[in-house]
Amino acid sequence: MTDRSSSAWVRYQRFAPMGATILLFCLAYAYGAIAYEGMRDPQVFLNLFRAAPFLLISAIGMTFVILSGGIDLSVGGVVALTTVASAALLRGNGMDPWLVIVVMLLMGMAFGATMGILITYLKVQPFIATLAGLWVARGLCFWISDDAIAIDNRLWDVLGQTKLLIPGLADPVTKQGPFISILVVVEFVVLFAAIFVAHYKGFGRTVYAIGGNEASARLMGLRVNRTKVLVYTLNGFCSALAGIALSIDVSSGHGLYAMGLELTVIGAVVIGGTLLTGGSGYVIGTLFGVLVIGVIQTLIQFNGSLSSWWTPIVVGGLTLVFIGVQSFLMARRTKRATSRRRTAQPRTTGDPPLPEQAT
């Protein structure tokens, strides 16, 4: 294999899993558009973004955690706790809603920071620490209230129901046509902020380094401990923000919300091309992971005949396929590296190897 022909593949190989996700999304959407007339409405595409901002925001936070080689099982609990706590605070003529949002975000960060400290300094396994965090969070929900609490607040209504018409597609006179909500804007702001932090900030680089090899990162002088705690704090922030988005969506708060969210979020991150072992993956990939899950749900809805329980099965199957692809690519990379070291490859072009380079 010559260097010239392999260079393109080698250079873009790391985009392969994410490329597969994007391709899958396009294919699935194309299939839907052909098969179902209703799906050709541009609103359906926009609904993919409107349907689950809380899933995307939560998945963005989880992406950072997984990139650092950890895992956070508490997201569902923190999301539910945020919905219940904000509902409780807004009850009657309670707190100023903007203050509620700030308090909730701080609470999420405190939660994340606590787990981060347990994991980093007290050496508790991330799985166990975040599992305990999940239990504590869910338990706190029911401490606040056994039943769902309705939210009746102007800010919440405005944030949830304002329709932002798409210029060019919608008719401004009759106020009809394709629209998105404010939460969609929020989720895109979060997405772009996350991409910026991941690729243009030292924090992001440290996260990737820790995920690749924590010991090497430490030896390089990177502030591993601080970054690890910050990663979980960031995820706590994202979970709280996702909880606020959910409470806006459903105008209520309950401890039973977001059950099993952590699984869907991890699935979305993996489908988006991030390796669960950490160190490899792109934040934008998570966006496509969420979109793929959304398009599957949409397809099943439009089909109508398939039970909605097919969604978790398909998501599970897709996660499997993507992991298989990832493992396959990783195995090929290591195999090629070791085989090149062991056997002398005949070179058909280029300069002959120097004596000390021959195996």
């Binding site: 508790v124 029911f142 699984l263 039970s307 992991i323």
Partner: protein, 351 residues
Amino acid sequence: MTVARSSRLHRFAESKLVFPLIVLAAILLFDLLFDPDFFGLQVIDGHLYGNLIDILRNGATVMLLAIGMTLVVATGGVDLSVGAVMAISASIAALLIDPDFKALTHDPTMSVTPLWLIFVVTLTVATLCGLWNGVLVAYGGIQPMVATLILMIAGRGIAQLITESVRIQIFYEPYAFLGNGWVILPFSLFIVAVVFTIFWLLTRRTSLGMFIEAVGINARSSFYSGVDEKRVKLFAYMACGFCAGMAGLVASSNIRTSDANNIGLNLELDAILAVVIGGTALGAGGRFSLFAGIIGALVIQAITTSMYAIGVPANALLTIKGIVVIIVILLLSDQVRGFIRRAASRQVRST
């Protein structure tokens, strides 16, 4: 003190059983302080009743899961799908009892399939689920958490599809005996005892146990020693599937329903916790103790039952459980190291 006596005591102190037993004793002691009558046992109609029996009975499902999970964790992996496999087994059992759900036979002696066949088919399917996980992990080289996550997500969907999203009520009495029957002690305990004995014999009276520990400690060197890592891991995951199937049967028989949504929900987390309390290292694997895993399951159940007995409101239970877990885990990590250090220095001083 003769050498033999001190070494046996020392061996017990170093074993995996010490920590979970101490924690269990501490919890029970705490209960005794709150309620002096906590250990009271009554015999009604030839059956034993009491708080201790409650702990044993309610903990039966997690004890079964912990047996299989210990083996998987010992190989260095984890199985997140046990809850979903429980749901699948419960659905299949309900399907076998009455394939046409709409008919809903109310006759307690009616079942389309005999009980033994229900057992065989359900446990076979559960073991096949374990086989699926094992193939993905051992032969596919996929990370255990990810591989079992797939079945965890998809499995609930499969269970729901089998029962067509209907909660099937089970009226067949012999099946209900599994979870509800009493032979002095709750029948589910005998099931736990049988399953435990089977796996204890398989792992400690054959070399399988040693192979599992070897694979967990260092897969590479066990490969060079001739241990087939792939087959050992496959066995571990199949065993876990089997135990999950049995747990599903017991759980659904307990509530006389096959509820594909709720059976086994979050129980995988309890099972993993039980194994960790029992001293098997999560993520690394290696030395394991089935009995310690069972004690770990009892610890978790004891926490729950104690909370109810003291009168902690149900909605606070989950929070307390989470906090207690963290405390236990922290104790485990620092204490074991300190204990061993002190014990080793005592040994050095005495010689």
